[in-house]
């Protein structure tokens, strides 16, 4: 036990949790904590807008598998974090967010820069705390990190009234005592047995994998199981990278912009093994006609997900990695079957494609070129068409190498998240695949990247429009393109230069490879403005609310 201030106790707690970097921006009521961070040895990255602090912590967490940490001052600092916290919540990202708060005696008085951030974030955090006494700090931090990273991970917010960070306490890091929280990681042996039996009996099995496999680090076990029983594997957007897409068993992504063959396989399957996935509406399409012939095995660490959207025949509550390992042990090897042949034929007949040739740069070609030049790259995306092309036309093989805002679909996520990812993995090449709309939502973070020497490569697929929304207008609103034209402002090359980053541009297909090579060779933040047509589309597409069988092939 030793005597220290609340702020010092926070720093001590962060160190005990192994935190080496935090993202934030100071303000009045969080100043005591900033003062304690000053010579703490913990790296603080000064971002330019608090939303980016949360996204950077999120990107750091997804790239490293560790808990991401961000902080902001009270009031607007805290509310600016909310989009980033909600993004992490929807995608189950382990995060601890700290916010300053008015001194305890001013709580509820609408004091300067006061916001009820615990009230605001109840629906978008796994848990949150308003700390009332300095002596509670060690316990709250211990619990917060534990809750954030265990079970189904998620963000935890800690609101810190100024006096609480100033008051003294005797520091002692307590044992965890959370009577209302006990994540169920063990899997039920009988359920595994039932699931294994169903897998053995199935003639047309499909394994459907989500982000849960990523967070439980279960990709090796997944490969082992799939190869042993020759089961085709499709992933959600969050699961991209969990199964190597160059495997003959890979079906790529399913759902709204999934591959035709993944969706066909789901609709024809007699058994679906869902692992760490939640049957989101973007995946299932019209729920009543989703996988009409299939029995469903659902493995999830969160019991509330099981039976939420679809009827489940064999529920398995527990850790995905453990469940996959147990299943791989429990099944007998199978041989390449007629089902595998059928799926292989679908893959041959309905590949992802785009019209090649012509004078304009194809965004799909840009992704393929990045993949060719840098197959081990970490691909972070914004949200919209850029995100879907990045999921579709890069051959993903590593679960921590594809980072995207899936659940909330947050434009402006990619660039700060890529910055965080690069800081977590400085040895890796990190790309932010962006659109000209998304990138402008957190463009100010170029300053953060330049000042901190974070050599993220931003590839702007610049169509001058809000492409995904425009695509919907094109298909479903009689081409009435209301408010989706951005007008190709600003000049991204000049803008990059104004921030002190490297700015490059490609306007013709022949320039793409050279410009990308130059970007990869660059050792500083680099923005590549790739000019593409506003009429490019993401294909194929299952219209919202339609069955997966009603997939459309679109031409750019």
């Amino acid at each position: 036990m030793s005597n220290m201030s609340g702020a010092e106790a926070i720093v001590e707690s962060l160190k005990l949790e192994g935190v080496d970097v935090v993202f934030g921006l100071p303000g009045g009521y969080i100043l005591p904590l900033y003062d304690a961070l000053y010579d703490s040895g913990i790296r603080h990255v000064l971002i330019r807008h608090e939303q980016a602090a949360a996204h950077a912590a999120d990107g750091y967490a997804r790239a490293t598998g560790r808990v991401g940490v961000c902080l902001a001052t009270s009031g607007p600092g805290a509310t600016n974090l909310v989009t980033g916290i909600a993004t992490a919540y929807m995608d189950s990202v382990p995060m601890v967010a700290m916010t300053g708060q008015v001194p305890s005696q001013l709580l509820g008085t609408d004091g300067f820069q006061e916001a009820d951030i615990t009230g605001i974030t109840i629906p978008v955090t796994k848990h949150n705390y308003l700390v009332r006494r300095a002596k509670d700090i060690p316990r709250v931090f211990r619990e917060a990190f534990y809750i954030a990273r265990t079970g189904r991970p998620g963000p935890v917010l800690i609101d810190l009234p100024k006096d609480v960070t100033v008051d003294d306490l005797d520091f002692e890091y307590p044992e965890i005592c959370l009577p209302g929280y006990s994540p169920n990681l063990k899997v039920h042996a009988l359920q595994i047995k039932r699931a294994a039996k169903a897998l053995m009996e199935a003639e047309r099995p499909v394994i459907y994998v989500g982000g849960g496999v990523k967070y439980s680090d279960g990709h090796k076990e997944l490969v082992e199981l799939a190869e042993k029983i020759k089961a085709p594997v499709t992933t959600t957007l969050m699961g991209v990278g969990c199964f190597p897409e160059d495997s003959p068993l890979s079906l790529g992504m399913l759902g709204m912009h999934g591959t035709r063959y993944a969706n066909l396989a789901i609709q024809e399957a007699d058994l679906i093994l869902a692992v760490g996935a939640r049957f989101d509406d973007r995946v299932t399409g019209k729920i009543a006609s989703f996988a009409p012939q299939a029995k469903v095995i659902h493995v999830d660490v969160d019991p509330a997900e099981i039976g939420k959207n679809v009827r489940v025949d064999i529920p398995v509550v527990g850790d995905a990695k453990t469940a996959l390992a147990e299943l791989a042990k429990a099944v007998e090897p199978k041989v390449w079957s007629a089902w595998n042949e059928l799926v292989a034929a679908w893959k041959r007949d309905h590949p992802l494609f785009y019209a090649k040739g012509g004078d304009s740069i194809k965004p799909q070609f840009v992704l393929e070129t990045i993949c060719k030049l840098c197959p081990e790259a970490v691909i972070v995306t914004e949200v919209g068409q850029n995100q879907m092309w990045a999921a579709q036309f890069f051959t993903h093989k590593d679960p921590k190498h594809f980072i995207s805002s899936g659940g909330l679909g947050t434009m402006g996520y990619g660039f700060p998240a890529a910055t965080g990812a690069k800081m977590g993995c400085p040895e890796k090449e990190v790309f932010d695949i962006a659109g000209d709309g998304s990138i402008q939502m957190n463009i100010q973070e170029l300053a953060t990247a330049v000042i901190n020497d974070v050599a993220v490569k931003v590839i702007i697929l610049n169509n001058g429009v809000l492409g995904m929304v425009r695509q919907l207008q094109d298909l479903f609103y009689e081409k009435r393109f209301t408010n989706t034209t951005l007008g190709r402002v600003p000049d991204f090359v000049k803008m990059a230069e104004a921030y002190g980053a490297l700015g490059l541009r490609a306007t013709r297909p022949s320039e793409v490879e050279g410009v990308l090579k130059e970007a990869i060779a660059s050792d500083r933040p680099t923005v590549v403005d790739v000019v593409i047509s506003p009429d490019e589309k993401v294909s194929p597409m299952v219209p919202a609310g339609a069955s997966l069988s009603e997939i459309l092939e679109l031409e750019g």
Partner: protein, 163 residues
């Protein structure tokens, strides 16, 4: 269908908001809710009655279980539990009505806990049906005010819902 859920929760600020929020987000109206002390000062017990679809309720129950401050959630089936509610009712009581009110009170084994020149306060406990029946009978005199606790419920026999 009506459901009764008993929860053991940590006795901390904000717990009620978290719980009530899960119901409101799904558009569930809470018919009644009680929070009271348990024999352990760290825990409170809530009884919540809601009207709603079974499947959705199951989902809400699972979400309740996920809240860090919630220790235990049990659905209590009416056929296996005792259910009680307390109501205090202020009824207009003109001189000429008093004896009839007293009669009703006695039939229901209720109690008069306050008398003033123009009103009486009646306390009644029992099942919701019993309270409803009493209210219906008193209505003819004029109900000026009524406060009901909402239902508490407990499984019959030795089985318990506790931390």
């Amino acid at each position: 269908m009506k459901h009764t859920i008993a929860l053991i929760v940590e006795n901390k600020p904000g717990v009620l908001v978290r719980i009530a929020g899960l119901f409101s987000r799904r558009g569930f109206n809470i018919d009644s809710l009680t929070v009271g002390a348990t024999d352990n000062p760290d825990y409170s017990r809530m009884t919540i009655t809601v009207e709603g679809d079974e499947v959705v309720l199951e989902q809400v129950t699972k979400q309740l279980n996920k809240l860090v401050n919630v220790i235990r959630v049990s659905e209590l089936l009416p056929s296996e539990s005792v259910e009680r509610e307390l109501a205090i009712i202020k009824v207009a009581a003109r001189k000429e009505d008093r004896s009839e009110i007293m009669q009703i009170v006695s039939v229901f084994r209720a109690k008069i806990i306050d008398v003033s020149p123009r009103s009486m306060i009646v306390e009644v406990t029992g099942s919701e049906d019993k309270v409803e029946a009493m209210v219906r009978l008193l209505r003819q005199f004029g109900i000026k005010e009524m406060a009901r606790t909402g239902k508490v419920s407990m499984v019959r026999g030795t089985k318990v819902v506790s931390a």
